[in-house]
Amino acid sequence: MSEDKNKNIQDINTPDDKFIHPENKPRTVISPEGEEIHIEPLRDYFLEKRPEVIQPKSDAVEKFLNWARAESIWVLGFGTGCGSIEIPPLMTPRFDAFRYGVQMRPTPRQSSAIIISGYLAIKTLKRVIRVYEQMPSPKYVLALGSCTINGGMYWDSYNTINRLDHYIPVDVYVAGCMPRPEALLAGFVQLKKKIKEGRAEGANEYAEKFDWYKGNQKKIINDWNMPDYNW
């Protein structure tokens, strides 16, 4: 990896000083031995490394793996906005998403897909970014409802984003306000088709256009107190 790729892009937009808790402000302290130490509590546990583009393996292997990935979609149990109420019925006898190989996982580390189920407030977007970056690649994003497409009924709100694809790469949109669970199932079928064709490379796209995504994210998240990439 070249030198400037390692460059910390926190410099694009440092968080406003007033949003950092006094305990977390960078400062110089004097140790019991009388030594002066400069500390930055916020950065202590940060791993400041950018995501990398991971090239797919050879065609036949990748096709086989993609088939397995498509048939075993592990969805993170994380709901935002009003659409989160549409996810639990998916697992009930009436809709039974298990038939399609869709299973819920409780932690981002073990899941390969995330459903953004509706409007995203700025506070939630921050959490979504953290969760999305923690998921292992390849990862897929399913955007549910009009709010993720153009803001929906909250298009002129001061606190909800309008277009999700400016902040994280989206694989499949399911339009509606709210879409019913059947529509969500159709979205899953669409996602499987996309994965099998090898077009669902959202994680690589995120790594390629990382600066653009980070710039957009930092434009609205003023109290940025997490690493630039949450490994």
Partner: protein
Amino acid sequence: MNDIIQDITTRFSVTDIINKRENLTFVTCRKENTISLITHLRDREKFTHLVLLTAVDWIEDNLFQLTYILNNPTKKIDIAIRTMIPRDNPVMESAHRLWEQVATYQRELKEMFGIEFPDSPRLNEPFILEGWNEIPPYRRDFDTKKYSTETYFPRIGRGTNDPEEYMKSKLYPNDPTK
């Protein structure tokens, strides 16, 4: 209900008494008297439950209106106390010593309207908005549409329809009278 109102009228000189329902009365009180009136209602008249605390922005009169709604669970009556505070210097005495949960309402009002409640716990912590740089968003001089357009990448080509006009044009395209 009526004797309570008469009592507090003489004691605290409340004005603008409006009977909304049989069991709900709105009164207006001066800023200095408000907390003592609420304390009196809570301790003497057994209005032990605070229903809500909210604010209204009267930008034309340069005033904020605070509304405390109190409930008496035994008599099943509500009383709403309105008080006006100046918009230029919005400071109100905190009521968190009467009910602890008022502190949360006051945090919200501080964030959404910028009303100060000195001594209220955790007042300056972010409640819903994290890292908000603008003027408080519930103030009426804050243009939320303009802010959204400038900040959140509006999707080009998004159209809106008035439902009534739209259905008329769909159902009766040739009859403008309907």
